[in-house]
């Protein structure tokens, strides 16, 4: 197995983490990992259940106790409050989608744009309906009545309404039918081409993630065991056997 090499080119990295540790109470989950997301790039974070993928995303957003450096566009964000990190342009589509079940689809979307001037955000609603026409049909409905796929679309739209520099996606394929997953990734590709937003994608579905991303990291029990261009990683024998299943 190849050793992980930290990427050096400082200028082109939007997000960089060095020596990142994270713990829930006494339970340590991340043991000093280094990773980066390139400006405008998509990075995939792969690994088995419990490897620390979700924790890595939470660490970036200040939702878990951490040690080590995290910087966004050269600015240290570790130790900052979640709300402040979000306000710097980090949007997180969380595990379980984070839907405001009791509120309407409209209110969920308005909350996505909460930190931005209302008039500016109103124009963006139109873009979201182009990407996700179903949200327009369900605009006045209680969000808890949406199907899983629709809630995933709502979560992505809500995150995009922040106009993020960095989009963190936690298993957007989770629990969805293959056709819906394809639809969602097709839309994510379009979003990327249109808006040039950088993404950090956590996925159990490694084949899907490696096809979508340019760079990839493989996590194993809180340590990065491999990193590199997604195309190379998908050719790796060990990865193929462990995560791709052929």
């Amino acid at each position: 197995m190849r050793r992980h090499r930290a990427r050096v080119s400082r200028v082109s990295n939007l997000l960089e983490a060095r020596g990142l540790h994270a713990a829930y109470g006494e339970t340590k989950v991340l043991h000093g990992i280094d990773f980066a997301v390139r400006q405008g790039g998509v990075t995939a974070l792969l690994g088995a259940n419990g490897a620390g993928k979700t924790t890595t995303l939470r660490a970036i957003c200040g939702m878990v106790r951490t040690r080590g450096d995290i910087s966004l566009g050269g600015r240290r964000i570790d130790g900052m409050a979640t709300e402040d990190i979000v306000r710097l342009g980090v949007a997180h589509v969380p595990e379980g989608r984070g839907t405001f079940m009791e509120l309407t689809v409209e209110e969920n979307l308005k909350l996505g744009a909460y930190t931005r001037p209302a008039r500016e955000a109103a124009a963006d609603f139109g873009h979201m309906f182009e990407y996700f026409p179903r949200l327009k049909e369900r605009f006045r409905q209680q969000a808890g009545t949406l199907s899983g796929g629709e809630q995933q679309m709502l979560a992505i739209a809500r995150a995009l309404l922040l106009r993020p520099r960095l989009l963190l996606l936690d298993e957007p394929s989770f629990g969805l039918a293959p056709l819906i997953v394809q639809e969602i990734f097709r839309i994510l590709k379009r979003i990327r081409e249109d808006a040039g937003v950088s993404m950090l994608l956590v996925e159990q579905n490694a084949a899907l993630a490696l096809e979508f991303a340019e760079d990839a990291y493989v996590l194993e029990t809180g340590r990065i065991v491999m990193s590199g261009p997604a195309a190379e990683i998908s050719k790796d024998e060990g990865i193929r056997r462990s995560y791709l299943g052929y």
Partner: protein, 290 residues
């Protein structure tokens, strides 16, 4: 006989408005914290003393009223920031202990600052009967004030960004943080608003029941019964429940148990709701699909 019933129902609605306001204050804090603020009534009493202080200093009634509402808002905010915030993740009993402690402390402070004698509190409304003699001027006026407050609160939560953010913070704090809502401040604002609503209720009820440090203790029980009856997680339900309890209390007091035993009606309602339908008549049903 019929006239008597109509009269009892109408003045039940008038007192019900007070219960509805306090019930709404309880629900606001309950939604955000899942705790019932037992000190809500004593906070309202304290606010009423603040209003009386400014009235005695010579301020016009509505100016004193407004000052009391604003100061109460600040006190509510400060209580959340200093006392409640450290307890955010504490076990239920710790929070209950603090609420009970707060009740006793504020009650004693009211007595200490303003003494325990029963005081008259002025009404800003005309003294003569209205609506064909069914309601006193004060009953009609206080009902109008209550309704205005309820409508304003509704509009605030439905149609403003801040109101939406407060609801989001109450329903789903984690997701609220992820869209940039400052959840801690939303909770504090909720406390401030609840205290302000309580101040209005206190000023409206004081001319009827007279002001003393224990003025709100019975009212809090009725309000709690109303909130439970309507659904303690549903603001509209709690408000309607408050009005309903006011009417039930008045009719029951006049025709059923007599005024001495009226308060037991509140307890009967509380026990009945908790055994028969714990979510209340309008308890929120949340649809969720996975």
């Amino acid at each position: 006989m019929l006239q008597g019933v109509i009269h009892q129902v109408m003045s039940g609605i008038a007192t019900g408005g007070i219960y509805a306001s306090v019930a709404l204050a309880l629900v606001m804090i309950y939604q955000a914290t899942h705790h019932v603020n037992f000190a809500q009534g004593e906070m309202a009493t304290f606010s009423t003393y603040i209003a009386l202080t400014f009235i005695n200093l010579g301020f016009p009634y509505w100016v004193a009223f407004a000052i009391a509402v604003v100061i109460s808002f600040g006190i509510g905010l400060a209580i959340e920031r200093t006392l409640m915030r450290p307890l955010a993740n504490a076990p239920v009993l710790a929070s209950v202990g603090v609420f009970v402690g707060l009740l006793l402390i504020i009650n004693s402070l009211s007595g200490w600052f303003f003494d325990y004698t029963i005081k008259q509190f002025p009404s800003p409304f005309p003294d003569h009967p209205m609506l064909g003699g069914y309601l006193s001027g004060h009953e009609l006026g206080s009902t109008a004030v209550t309704l205005i407050v309820l409508v304003l609160v509704y509009l605030f939560f439905r149609h403003t960004r801040l109101g939406l953010a407060m609801r989001a913070a109450a329903f789903n704090p984690t997701s609220a943080r992820l869209v940039g809502v400052r959840v801690g401040w939303m909770l504090a604002l909720g406390w401030g608003l609840a205290a302000a609503i309580g101040a209005v209720a206190g000023c409206m009820v004081a001319p009827v029941v007279f002001l003393d440090p224990n003025m709100m203790s019975g009212i809090l029980l009725y309000a709690f019964a109303g909130a439970l009856l309507g659904g303690i997680d549903n603001p509209l339900g709690a408000v309607l429940g408050g009005f309903a309890v006011g009417v039930i209390e008045n009719l029951g007091g006049a025709y059923l148990v007599g005024t001495e035993l009226k308060l037991t009606l509140a307890l009967v309602i509380i026990v009945a709701v908790l055994t028969v339908r714990p979510t209340g008549l309008m308890g929120r049903k949340v649809y969720s699909r996975v």
